[in-house]
């Protein structure tokens, strides 16, 4: 296994743009609450995906 690059310049660059407010909010939750939040977010996205699909199928066909 290659030795890890520490600090990795790419990861360091990305770190500046991490939204830490989201992390701090998550750290107030228990692990179980974090998993429930993820599951809820996935259900929300599935709903939106379906809504998008429905909207596309309702469009008139392109000529």
């Amino acid at each position: 296994m290659p030795p890890p690059l520490e600090p990795d310049p790419i990861v360091t660059a990305f770190r500046q743009h991490v939204d830490r407010s989201l992390l701090r909010e998550n750290l107030k939750l228990t692990p179980a609450q974090r998993l429930a939040k993820l599951q809820s977010a996935l259900a929300f996205m599935a709903e939106l995906r379906q809504a998008g699909k429905n909207a596309r199928s309702a469009l008139p066909p392109r000529i």
Binding site: M1, P2, P4, L5, D8, I10, V11, T12, F14, R15, H17, V18, D19, R20, L22, L23, R24, N26, L27, L29, P31, A32, R34, L35, A36, K37, L38, Q39, A41, L42, A43, M45, A46
Partner: protein, 160 residues
């Protein structure tokens, strides 16, 4: 199919399966805000555990992810023992079963780098945040760079 963590994880625990939660869902357990769709599990490769894993997942009708329908895919312990890593789609979401993981090795090698998590009224092992960072680094995939940055930021937050 979106993951049903509340069905999948209890089924594995109640089935006595030895597994460790890794990957994006483990990152969420540690506080990551990134959304992930599949559950990555490192499982013990003993014949008994392969049998327990097969039994526990059977109700979720596992099938090879991205494979054409209708393949003669029999979900049985022998298949698990003869393979190593499996990317599956199931009725409880996409599941990756890893007999070994880059940077972490086998279930037994990874076990010292886990902690017990309680969720959905069951307890299971999850890789620790420092080890998860090691695993992401070892994978070395460009797509992991952002996830790695977030995990390192999480580590900073937890230490501050």
């Amino acid at each position: 199919m979106d993951p049903d963590f509340d069905k999948l994880l209890p089924a594995l625990v109640h089935g006595g399966v030895e597994f460790i939660l890794v990957g994006g869902v483990a990152a969420v357990v540690h506080g990551a805000a990134r959304v992930t769709y599949d559950v990555d599990l490192v499982y013990a490769r003993s014949p008994a555990n392969c049998e327990r894993m097969v039994d526990a997942l059977r109700p979720f009708a596992p099938y090879l992810r991205d494979a054409p329908p209708g393949l003669p895919f029999a979900w049985e312990p022998r298949r698990l023992r003869h393979g190593l890593n499996f990317t599956l789609t199931t009725a409880a979401g996409d599941v990756d079963l890893l007999g070994e993981i880059i940077g972490g090795g086998t279930y037994e090698q990874l076990l010292p780098h886990t902690s017990e998590i309680e969720a959905f009224a069951v307890r299971f092992r999850c890789v620790t945040l420092p080890k998860l960072i090691d695993l992401k680094r070892a994978a070395g995939r460009p797509k992991d760079f952002e996830a790695l940055a977030e995990l390192e930021a999480l580590r900073d937050e937890q230490q501050s």
